[in-house]
């Protein structure tokens, strides 16, 4: 009988991955955050692809930091926003709102993008109130 433990890199990776993946409690706990993560990731990829082209050294690291900031914000902000918005929209289960909110947070992007969006919204409301809808 062969009792030698696996030592090649693929076998070790497989064992580590298997131990991580086959934990049902971990899967249950991760489910809502996985939803937020992937919805936020799609949105963040969109806002990342909209940013000006940057080919200077370290551009990938800056892109990764941008994604980390935005997805981190989505992971922190999404659930409280969903809990706050759900009763106002008449949705009795906030989990239905988690993915769209995370996507929007990601798609808007960084703090400067939020600032631009808020300024645009303010101008839009002011124009609407004054009765001049032209942009």
């Amino acid at each position: 009988m062969n009792t030698t433990p696996p030592y090649d890199i693929v076998a070790v990776l497989a064992l580590v991955g298997g131990a991580l993946f086959s934990n049902p409690q971990l899967s249950q706990a991760l489910a809502p955050y996985a939803t937020i993560f992937f919805a936020g990731l799609i949105g963040t990829m969109w806002s990342l692809s909209r940013r000006p082209t940057d080919l200077s050294p370290g551009h990938r690291l800056r892109g990764a930091m941008f994604m980390l900031r935005v997805i981190g914000a989505a992971l922190i902000v999404t659930l409280p926003v969903a809990l706050w918005v759900a009763p106002k929209l008449g949705v009795n289960q906030e989990r239905y709102l988690v993915a769209p909110i995370a996507f929007v947070i990601g798609a808007v992007g960084d703090a400067s993008d939020w600032k631009t969006l808020l300024v645009w919204l303010r101008d839009f409301v002011l124009r609407w109130k004054s009765g001049t809808p032209e942009s």
């Binding site: 696996p6 693929v10 990776l13 497989a14 991955g17 991760l30 990829m45 692809s49």
Partner: protein
């Protein structure tokens, strides 16, 4: 298939999913608002989808032998156009630098 084989396929699948995501991330980093929306949409959807596909055992969906082969084919497809993206997005996908004969087909 033994448990070890299943774990091994899952690990290879996860590594390939991360690789596809990384390639899409790199394309997204060098893209800008002048790149055609349909081209950006390809990387935006393919990257996270491949990552989710590779990490599918996290929600109990174990990959078969075909899954890593599909991801490998996607990687080869993406790498085959790397030379075009080496210095940023190619002119053929940028609205401002696109040749007129291509604009006719938009």
């Amino acid at each position: 298939m033994t448990t070890e084989h299943i774990y091994m396929i899952a690990a290879i699948d996860a590594a390939l999913g991360v690789a596809v995501f990384f390639i899409c991330f790199c394309r997204a980093v060098v893209s800008d608002a002048m790149v055609l929306r349909r081209v950006r949409l390809k990387f935006v959807l393919l990257g996270p989808a491949s990552l989710a596909f590779g990490l599918s055992p996290l929600w109990g969906d174990w990959p078969g032998i075909i899954n890593p082969l599909l991801l490998l084919a996607i990687i080869i497809g993406l790498l085959s156009e790397t030379f075009q993206w080496h210095n940023g997005p190619p002119n053929s996908v940028k609205i401002d630098t696109m040749p007129n004969e291509l604009k006719e087909h938009l």
